[in-house]
């Protein structure tokens, strides 16, 4: 959407007057926008029937990924911003005439000192917190929850929303008893009905998934996070904020968490042996003379631990694939034998996620040819074993592609 400033008032008096920014979208763009908002399924079908996506990508291509690390240095010790698609925001791109249309996620690590558990006296811990806000997208409310009920009325997903209305009783769509819908019926080619509605982003689910994946992959060695065995250990809290939600927040969030951990530098600490206090030594004080410090340290019974970055294991690289329900490709003759032939879209955008109605596959692989996590969500699709191995090989390819991005300069 181009916008130009226009002087709309006649009298100019040293800057006084009215400046307005007019958005000069033509009539055609309005029609396109309306079609996309009201009938996203058909809109997407227009593209997928030609084997392409609205943004011009082929089905199996993901958006270019930009990772910017160390940009929040004041209050956190490791930070990263991951942008899928779009132009780099904070960097100095001087030629960005279009707004960045990518999913952007910021992750930053803060450190706390805590008590290690009894069973693992040398282990530290990683905690994950994901937040979103109205900044992230038009459907997010102040608390960061995405609500779909308000927009479900516009979509042609009548059964999903009406079925929920029967139980929740708060939908303004009117309750026609759930059968015999006239204009709203969404029948598939083989007679089954579609009960799906777009699934909102669940940040709690995302949080626990990232935590689980980070802990179960061998990315971080928890013994490196210990300070004093049995007494104190680091707790790394990764705060992830969804800045712009344009699809595939899961990938972006995990990648940003990994990049922030790669960027993390544990500070130099002084451990007071008598009372176990851990004190972070500021950089400026760290360079006081060597011998003196050793003698002093012995007197104070204080011990220094070196600040360092973490040694990283293989990076868990996620890959999210949206599965479009099979009634989308009604032109496909392969539907005759009843087997579904769904369309797989790698790295879905917001529109594609909505149409997929919660049917995703998210797999996390690393370069050691291991699958760290495999998650198939959604009730509207079923996968065969061949499909799964095809997806797994895509995941491995992506792991090889993305690992150098995260562990660069190390």
């Amino acid at each position: 959407m181009t916008s130009k400033t226009k002087l709309s008032s006649a009298h100019l008096n040293e800057g006084q007057g009215e400046y307005t920014i007019q958005n000069e979208t033509s009539g055609q763009e309005w029609i396109l926008d309306a079609y996309r908002s009201l009938e996203p399924r058909n809109y997407l079908k227009e593209f997928t029937s030609q084997n392409v996506r609205p943004c011009g990508r082929p089905f199996h291509t993901s958006r270019p990924i930009t990772i910017l690390t160390s940009f929040l240095k004041r209050n956190s010790r490791g930070s990263a911003m991951v942008t899928l698609g779009g132009s780099d925001k904070i960097g100095n791109t001087d030629d960005s005439t279009s707004s960045s249309s990518g999913t952007t996620v910021i992750a930053a690590c803060t450190l706390l000192v805590g008590h290690p558990g009894n069973a693992t006296p040398t282990h530290g811990d990683i905690d994950v917190l994901v937040t979103a806000s109205p900044l992230s997208g038009p459907r997010f409310d102040i608390m960061g929850r995405e609500s779909v009920d308000s927009v479900a009325a516009f979509y042609n997903y009548p059964h999903g929303s009406n079925a929920r209305a029967a139980t929740e009783n708060d939908n303004g769509n009117g309750n026609h008893g759930g059968h015999g819908q006239n204009y709203n019926c969404n029948n598939n080619e083989d007679g089954t009905r579609n009960y799906d509605a777009p699934h909102p982003l669940d940040i709690k689910q995302l949080e626990s998934w990232i935590r689980r994946t980070l802990r179960s992959s061998r990315y971080i060695d928890p013994t490196e996070l210990g300070i004093e065995p049995g007494k104190s250990a680091w707790r790394v809290r990764i705060s992830i904020h969804v800045v712009n939600h344009d699809g595939n927040v899961w990938d972006a969030a995990l990648l940003s968490a990994c990049a922030a951990l790669a960027d993390l530098k544990l500070p130099v600490v002084e451990v007071n042996r008598k009372d176990g206090n851990v004190r972070i030594v500021d950089g400026a004080e760290g360079g006081i003379g060597g011998d003196d410090n050793g003698v002093e340290a012995e007197k104070k019974k204080v011990q220094r631990r070196e600040g360092r970055s973490l040694t990283l294991g293989p990076v868990p690289v996620p890959l999210t694939i949206a599965i479009l329900p099979s009634n989308n490709n009604s032109n496909d003759k392969a539907n005759k034998n009843g087997k579904s032939n769904p369309i797989f879209l790698v790295d879905p955008t917001h529109l594609e996620e909505d149409v997929a109605c919660g049917n995703f596959v998210t797999l996390v692989c690393n370069t050691d040819d291991e699958i760290v996590d495999f998650n198939k969500k959604g009730s509207g699709s079923r996968l065969s074993l061949n499909r799964i191995s095809a997806l797994a090989s895509m995941g491995f390819g992506r792991a090889k592609e993305l690992e150098p991005l995260i562990v660069k300069d190390r």
Partner: protein
Amino acid sequence: SASFSSVPFDPWRRPTHDDDDDDDRDGDPPPTTRGPKTLRRLHLRRSVLSQSTGSSLVEWGHTKVLCSVRGPRPFHCSGLSHGGSGGGNGGKAALLCQVRYLSQIGLRPESLARRSFVGDASHAGAKLPKDVLSTSQDAAPHVSSSNSSVAAFPDETHLSRLLHDALSPAVMSDGPGGNRAVDVYVHVLQSDGGAFGAAVAAATLALADAGVGMRDLPCVGCAAVMSAGGNGRERVLADPSEDELLRAEGVVTVAMMPNWREVMVWDQCGRMSVEASREAMEVARDGCVTVAKFLRNCLLEGP
């Protein structure tokens, strides 16, 4: 902490910490400094978020602020602004402003402790005992569902209120076709002093980006009054950074519409003499005018 009082403070050589990015350089080029009336480097970008009607990113020195604007939309279906910070118009807000620090990382705990609006400022020591940081946030998982740490919340409400005061005279919410409601959401990614100034600048840019009609571009200038020291005269510094804010005796923040030459917000805290207060106000006002020029340039020529 020890580092503040040990390093002598020279108002003509205030460090700008621009070289903070490279830790392993041995300070070969000397760190750049700025004088007492120089503002920090300002970096403005418009239209950075695709899912918001209007958005902007402002980097003011090391303070990074992201703003998103929703609207304008007809008044009666403003679903999110039930009894927001509207005040005198019967509980319905034409302009909803919300400032949030990015959870856990937007604000340093020590600045929260020293300059927090909670409680008495004379308790200058850290009001958050050390174990609060490590235990309370972790032991209560339901607390982490809120967007910010509990301790920062009064600051956020105060800033939201100030932002509303600064923006509402400028935003024309009664256009042709009825009243319009506009939502402004500001997120402070990193606060290094001057978060309010950056928030107003970001909000102004985002509102303009969203196409909301405005009477003028609100801008904010901030000045800190440092203690008298040896020669008995207080020093006034423009656009203080976080470290300078922590050492200041008093801070004056002024929001004004530069073309109309009217002040919307005058927020002053701490103690200072009358002359210092007047001088600080003038310094802040000059800062406003300077920032206004940058804002206009960004709107007229920028992306």
